[in-house]
Subunit: 143 residues, 4 copies
């Protein structure tokens, strides 16, 4: 790993002070994040808004990538595809489990399953791609 | 049209009071929306955050669909695919131009091009699908 | 399960006689399929063509869905999103492993990881959605 | 333009001799292609198979990119997202109209609308991304 959970948490707090996402774990080409659902994340019907889920998944991908390549702020999302599968619970936390499928020299691709805490049925599934700036060498051999 | 711009604006204000999105125009299987970029929408580097763009595109799709089928709050996003194309300007507004490609009895599909105001090069492009609840008859013949 | 591997193989042979896809396994909301790569599936550089991978993933999704809901020929693909991750081997077989993430009354969503036989690094990853015709009741409670 | 329609047609015939796609027009960051639907492209119900539509869209993107950057065989598809909108006619031709939305130094993004000839309602819509090899300088200023 090129950045620890603690280093990533400090970076996220400094760079994205308004973010409420918590990094639960990183490592092994993946990351787990969580978000406590509050009033600002709800939409009519007492469910979590789609943009909240997209933002959480995007953060999970970003954290998973930075944990492998080190803290390279210039990594940027190039695409994100989300499928909404079930209505999330409006109380409790949402958990995002990210697994990177490819970490190349210029492009990373990963998937994120999002869960309402306590359920093992995903509420949404995301596939995202990130552009990695030149020179940000992956911490493991290209695969 | 099954709902006017004014009816949709009143509905959005009532249901999504925290949304800052402005409906600029609706009609002809489409909608144009705008968002003034403020501090909460920025990310490091002075650009507009990805989730802000996704949320704006989602609203454009929702408004375009409701303008055709009438105000049916139960229409929900089932998927959203975004490609980030260029760095948005951190000042000024973001404009979203939505065009519906299909408006069926149970599924609507549309695309949204997002622009920094004053530029004709899109900053992002979205394709989204919405599930339409049974009985929400489209206002025009199925195509 | 609402259709066995043998029933599905017979159905595929009857309906898609030109398909070379082999059903390896079905069950537990998933399916595994394989395709022997021949001259028709290759493209310049000795790799497997993208459309070949897309077709294999689409078949994996179709077989996984039919194994759950029974042989309902009217299930149709509504969307397919593929990310190409690594160059597939031009010899040997391609394996597609599908897992359904949602099997609702009108919509099914699944993912497929595609591998060159003998490697555990995916060459491509697909998320697809299928529309299920009314009345094709899933074989398990809606989830 | 860095490659004419005639140069592209000769290249496609040489490199993809099995392809039946016809290049109708290229230029202005776009391309139009067509495919005569034959027995091999049909599926049960007399409609055009999904993989046929995906392959046609992929070719449209490839041709549009090569028309701008010149004939660079190493450009490869990195992702493709298709939404199936209407049942294509099983007779006649399918037309693919591609428009590039971004042509950067390392990544191109474009959309393709697919039509049954004679109809102006798209049967499918594709967004695809291509990786462009280093040194393949675009023929126009980066935008």
């Amino acid at each position: 790993m090129a950045a620890t959970k603690e280093e990533l948490a400090a970076f996220m707090t400094a760079e994205f002070p308004q973010s409420k996402t918590v990094i639960e774990a990183v490592g092994d080409m993946g990351a787990t994040v969580s978000l406590a659902v509050g009033h600002g994340e709800l939409r009519p019907g007492g469910t979590v808004s789609g943009p909240t889920l997209m933002a959480l998944a995007d953060t999970a991908l970003y954290v998973a990538i930075l944990s492998e390549i080190g803290i390279v702020p210039l990594a940027v999302t190039t695409s994100l595809n989300i499928n909404f599968l079930r209505k999330p619970a409006g109380n409790g936390r949402v958990i995002g489990v990210c697994k990177l499928m490819k970490l190349g020299r210029s492009l990373a691709v990963g998937e994120v399953s999002l869960y309402s805490e306590g359920s093992d049925e995903p509420v949404a599934h995301v596939v995202g791609t990130y552009s990695i700036p030149p020179g940000a060498t992956p911490s493991r051999p290209a695969r």
